[in-house]
Each structure stands twice: as C-alpha cells, then as structure tokens.
C-alpha cells in the first residue's frame, strides 16, 4: 500500500499539497504568512527555471530579467493604464514568452560559458532599461503596484475575507492563493517532464549529439523550454508585484538571477521538490540569520559552501539517496 503510493506519479504533488495546507498550523502571525507567500511565489518561479537548468541542462543567469519584466508589465498596466490583473498577467507572460523566443533562438546555439554569458547579458539589459525609463518605471526608486483584482474582487494583503465560513485576513488569503498557484505550477511542470517533450529534453541534457542522431530537434526543444521557463518567471513576477505592492528594478537584477540559480543548484537540479526546498531554505536563511548581525553573510556563505561540498547533488536528492539506501539495507536484512 505504502509502496504503491510511493510509486504513484502524483506522489510528490500530494505530499506537497499536504505540507502546504498543514503549514498554517505552524504559522502564528501575519509576518510568517508573508514569508510563506513569498516562498511559494519564488518556488514556482524556480520550478520553471528548473525545467531549463535541471532537465534540459541549459544555464540561465538572466532569469530575474523575465521575472522583472512580468512584474513591471503588471505594475505599469494596472497602475497607469487601469488594466485588470489577470489580463495584465496573461498579456505580460505572452509578451515575455515572445521576447524569450526571439532572444532564445540565437543564444541557445551557444554552449557552456557562452550561453551563461548571453543570458547574463539579456538579464542586464532588461535591468538597465527598467532603471533608466524613469517616466514609465519610476526609475531606480521603484513604483507602487495596486492590489490583485479579479472581476472587481480585490485580493489585498491587508483586506479580510470569508472563505466557506472561515474568517481569513489578507495575509492568510494570499498564502492560500500562492499555495494553489505553486501546486498548479508543479503539476504543469511534472506533466511536461513526463511527456515526450520531457524525454526529449532529458536526452538533450544527456548528450546533445546523441539526441540529434536519434532524431530529436534539439534547437526547437531548447527554445521551447526556454520560453516555458520565461513564462513561468513572468507570471510569478506579476503575482510578486501585486503581493509586494511596490517594486524596484532590483527584482530584475543580477543578484536576483543568481539567487534563482542558487536555489536550483542547492535544492537539487532536476528535482522539482528539491528546488522548492532550495527556495524555502534560501528565503528562510536571511531571516533566521538576521539575529547574528555581522556574521550573517559569513554564515550564509559557509552554509552554501558546505552544502555544495558535501551534497553536490543538492539537498533533496542527497537526502533521498541516503534514505533509499537505508531502506534497501533494512529490506535486505529482513529477507
């Protein structure tokens, strides 16, 4: 029974759903909900990035650029042009998808460091534009973003809501919304991974030449997954902007791109649950370490370094492997 459950395709999704909906039992003030909501949004972004990095084996150091574009598209359209949130999110995501496709075709021909450099440049260019178009984006000091609205119904972190007879404050409502979004993001990603496209992508990761020999149109699949991960980033950027209520060009900055890629590597490349864990750990650490003051940065670096030295595959895959070995030993002993 347990074994069959462990082999189910939707196992991870169910476990994640249980964790997400049990979590509120441990959250006791709106600040915790605040953090959890951000984690969910960032985790969904990283799940998208993982499709590109973990499955197709392509590095993107400019992903925050797409995230920032989505955030700013939403910010500008909803505040200056009076659009509703959903159309802004969707149109923004489509626009970013097209941009990703246009820049993706040529740069995905590059490999290794050259590909990293090219994506890095794309991220930088987007950040520079957001910084300098002061009339549109408010420049380096940022711009305010109105609350998320659907058909005149407003989801604000400061409102209060009634869901099936339960009284919810704005932070709790946002958390539930973000948790649902994360589940949908994971479900879509897992379906993509288990589809023929996913298999083609993994073959590209394994050996691009071999993949081409067996008839995989590698260029097409690579730009497809690049576009998909950019759309993930853009959509999550839009939600992030609504949730934060204020955005600065730092959301499209280099630091943020590096944070994303670190989450993927730390959590475990190619493991959807792993990268979510990576996002949670990296969002949580600065808050936990804040009490150590000057030592914060040193400890942060040390933790990352030690994890990479002793767990080069990432947090979750290493843990899973250790647990798997144990269980096998146990099973062997019994037989």
């Amino acid at each position: 029974m347990l074994n069959r459950f462990m082999q189910m395709r939707l196992r991870d999704l169910i476990i994640l759903a249980i964790i997400l909906f049990a979590l509120p039992l441990f959250l006791n003030n709106p600040f915790h909900y605040d953090l959890a909501t951000q984690m969910a949004i960032i985790a969904a972004t990283v799940v998208g990035l993982n499709l590109l990095v973990g499955f197709a084996g392509q590095i993107s150091l400019g992903h925050a650029g797409f995230f920032g574009l989505g955030a700013y598209f939403t910010g500008i359209m909803t505040s200056s042009y009076g659009w509703s949130s959903v159309p802004a999110l969707v149109v923004g995501a489509i626009a970013v998808g097209i941009i990703a496709w246009i820049v993706g075709r040529p740069i995905l021909r590059l490999k290794g460091h050259y590909l990293s450099m090219a994506t890095l440049a794309v991220g930088f260019i987007i950040a520079i534009i957001l910084n300098n178009e002061r009339a549109l984006t408010g420049g380096p000091d940022g711009m305010p973003v109105p609350a998320f609205t659907v058909f005149g119904w407003e989801l604000s972190p400061f409102g209060s809501y009634n869901l099936l007879g339960m009284e919810l404050n704005g932070s709790e409502a946002w958390y539930l919304f973000a948790a649902l979004v994360l589940l949908v993001a994971v479900w879509l990603a897992q379906n993509l991974i288990d589809s023929p496209i996913g298999r083609a992508l993994r073959s590209v990761h394994g050996s691009e030449v071999a993949a081409r020999v067996v008839g995989v149109d590698t260029a097409r699949y690579k730009s497809l997954v690049f576009v998909v991960s950019a759309i993930y980033a853009s959509a999550m950027g839009s939600l992030y902007a609504h949730f934060q209520g204020f955005i600065t060009p730092a959301v499209a900055g280099f630091d943020f791109s590096i944070l994303f890629i670190t989450m993927v590597v730390l959590g475990g490349m190619g493991s959807t649950m792993g990268v979510i864990l990576g996002a949670v750990v990296l969002k949580l650490l600065p808050q936990v370490l804040a009490d150590f003051q000057e030592l914060e940065t040193v400890m942060f670096g040390a933790i990352l370094m030690l994890t990479m030295i002793f767990m080069p595959k990432g947090l979750l895959p290493t843990i899973q492997m250790a647990v798997g070995k144990r269980m096998k030993k146990k099973a062997g002993g019994q037989a």
């Binding site: 600040f31 951000q38 380096p140 000091d141 305010p144 209520g245 204020f246 630091d255 808050q287």
Partner: protein
C-alpha cells in the same frame, strides 16, 4: 574546543536569562524598530545611522529612559535591497510589534515599506532623501533629511545670487541622481533659469570626460551642477579639474562628507555644495540655534566610535529625538497619539535643521536649513 564553546554558550545563556528576569521586573520597554542598509552598496548611509541609534538609545536609557520606560532598539540590515526592507518592516510590525519605526536608509527601501506601514498604522520616520516620501503627505510617514528638491532650490538660489542663469547639468543614473535631476529640471522652470546641457553617467563609470566636454562645448553655459552620490561625483570633480574647466562648479548634498575631500583631493578646490551645518560646526555664528546641538553630536559621536561623524548619522539622530519627543508629548506609546504628536512638533532644533512639522508637511524643514559650503584649501568653508 567543543567544551569551551559549550561553556561559553552556557554563560551567555545564563546572562541572557538574568537579563530577561531583570527586564521583566523593570517597566516594559518602548520598542523602536529600525531597518537600515548597514552593509552593501548603501552602507555609508546605514552604518553611521545604526551607530547613532545604538549610541543614543544607550544614552537615553542611562538617563532613565522615556516616560520612565527603557528604550529597546530592534534593528535589521536590509543590505540596500528594497524587498528585504519590506520583509524586515513586516517583521518589525507583525512579529516584533514595535511602537515606532526609525529607519529606511534609501528611498527605495523606504517606499517599499510605506504601503505596509500605512496599512498597519505604525508611525514611521524615514531617513531617506527623495521628495516622493512626504509629497504627497502620507498619514503615518515622516522624514528627517531635507528633500532633494530643497537641495536643488538652495543651489539654484545661490547660482542666481552670483548672476548665473544658464548652467549644464550632469547627474548619476542611480536613484539619488535621477530623482535629483527631475527635481532640478522642475525647479529651473519656476526660477526662470535654464538648463542648457543635460547629461548623465552610470554609477560604475570611471571616466566622465566625454560628458563634461559635451557641457563645455555648449554655448552660453555659465556653471555646472552635478547631482549624484558615491564615487561618481568624485570622478566628475577630478575630470573637471583635468579638463581645466573654469566655470563655477556645484555638487549636491549627496557628497557632503569629508570622504569626498579625500577622494577628490586638490580637484575639489572651489566646489560649492549645500550641506548640513555638521560639516562646519565651529564656523557657525554663536547666535545660530543649531550650533550647540551640532557641536555636541559631533563630539559625542567621535568620542564613542573613533570615526568621523557623517551627515547621514545626523538624520538618524534627528529621527530618534523626534520619536522620543513625540512619545513624551503623547504621554504613551499609543500609535495614533504618537503620530499626532509627531505632526505637531514645532521648533525642534536638530542637527539637520529646525523642524516645524504640520499635517501638510511631514518633513518640517526649509530649504535654508542647508548651508552653502565651498571647498577652500582642502577644507569646508561656510559661505552662507
């Protein structure tokens, strides 16, 4: 080794526990929250601000606290990042439940926290410069530094006094520079002056000769104004001297610190800028109401930290003192009462200027709280 660590931890825990018991016996502390850019690119703002807050909270507690209650400073480092600032503001308000917030080193960090502060109804005194923070007025948000608009007004008034009406503007593309540029262009129209050349540089540029040559070759330019902070303005100043430009040269208050003199060296000779009187405490006339406050702050800060005083720390000094004065006037830490008291503070003599708050003005300073200084023989000289 491990044993020593364990023993140390034990000792620390014991001391902490003793501290807890003691503070439980004493009156409940007044919690002052702060998020500052203590490290990262804006650390030259956050570092002196934090030192000032720590030092004066200690001092006030030694003198018996406020309303008979000690102050407790809870502070976080936002590393100059706006989304961190928002998270820490959220933590201060919702988890630490502070009574008032004094912080926000940069405009971005401040503005990111504003929606939260307004909704949670917590008085917030910002230490950042741009005019957007208090214009339009936000019910719960105050600030202590003069706005960049006032700096622009002060500089342009001084130019006009010297008979200059047409000048070249060079500004950084960072938050400070680009906001300053917008304000300058706005003030220029009102004062009937004209910006004949308008060029920018980015924070990481290492040579601004091209931009300056552009200004020099513009017809009818009578002076040059640079709005920016960090290393950029020092490089502009050096390039200016290298090009042998003879026009009067103005900098903004963004570089009003002694480290600018070190960075720019001889090239800074003759540069004028608006600044806090803190840079020239001893040249202030004796009847200047700020003289005593300024001299005391400088002496106390330098004695305690063994480093040069900075105008940015003074913003934190004024912020803390305004908070204390408001809590005393309100007679409690009731947030609405403190907010109202803050709004009604009149004639508080601070290091930055004399504050006269009102419901329409949450900054409370006038443009003439800036003094115009000129660099002469490698030192600041008070002009007016």
């Amino acid at each position: 080794m491990l044993k020593t660590i364990l023993r140390r931890t034990g000792q620390v825990a014991a001391i902490a526990a003793a501290g807890l018991v003691m503070s439980a016996q004493a009156a409940e502390p007044i919690k002052i929250g702060s998020f500052l850019s203590v490290t990262g690119p804006a650390s030259f703002l956050g570092d002196p601000e934090l030192k000032t807050l720590e030092m004066y909270v200690e001092k006030i507690n030694e003198d018996g606290g406020v309303l008979g209650r000690p102050l407790e400073l809870i502070h976080y480092d936002d590393v100059g990042n706006a989304s961190n600032a928002r998270n820490f503001a959220s933590r201060l308000i919702r988890s630490d439940r502070v009574d008032i917030i004094v912080g926000g080193s940069t405009t971005g960090a401040t503005m990111a926290a504003v929606p939260l502060v307004e909704q949670a109804k917590v008085p917030f005194i910002s230490l950042a410069g741009a005019v957007v923070i208090t214009n339009p007025v936000k019910k719960w948000v105050f600030k202590t530094p003069q706005t960049d608009r006032m700096a622009a007004e002060r500089i342009l008034t001084d130019m006009k006094d010297r008979g200059i009406t047409r000048f070249g503007l060079i500004s950084g593309t960072g938050g400070f520079g680009s906001s300053g540029r917008t304000q300058t262009l706005d003030v220029v129209e009102q004062m009937g002056m004209e910006v004949v050349a308008d060029v920018t540089y980015s924070g990481s540029d290492t040579d601004m000769t091209a931009q300056l040559t552009n200004i020099r070759n513009t017809d009818g330019v009578e002076a040059v104004l640079n709005f920016g902070f960090g290393q950029g303005p020092a490089i502009v100043t050096r390039n200016y001297a290298q090009l042998g430009m003879e026009l009067p040269f103005y900098q903004s208050h963004g570089v009003a610190s002694d480290s600018f003199l070190e960075l720019a060296g001889d090239a800074a000779e003759g540069v004028r800028l608006p600044a806090s009187p803190l840079l020239v405490p001893d040249s202030l006339p004796d009847d200047d109401p700020q003289k005593q406050v300024v001299q005391d702050y400088k002496a106390e800060y330098e004695a305690r930290w063994d480093s040069k005083v900075s105008t940015f720390g003074a913003y934190a000094y004024d912020g803390l003192m305004l908070a204390v004065q408001a809590i005393e006037a309100a007679g409690s830490t009731d947030k609405e009462a403190v907010r109202e008291a803050l709004e009604n503070i009149q004639g508080y003599v601070g290091v930055t200027g004399v504050f006269n708050m009102s419901p329409e003005d949450h900054n409370g300073l006038e443009a003439d709280s800036f003094r115009i200084l000129e660099v002469q023989n490698g030192e600041w000289k008070l002009i007016n």
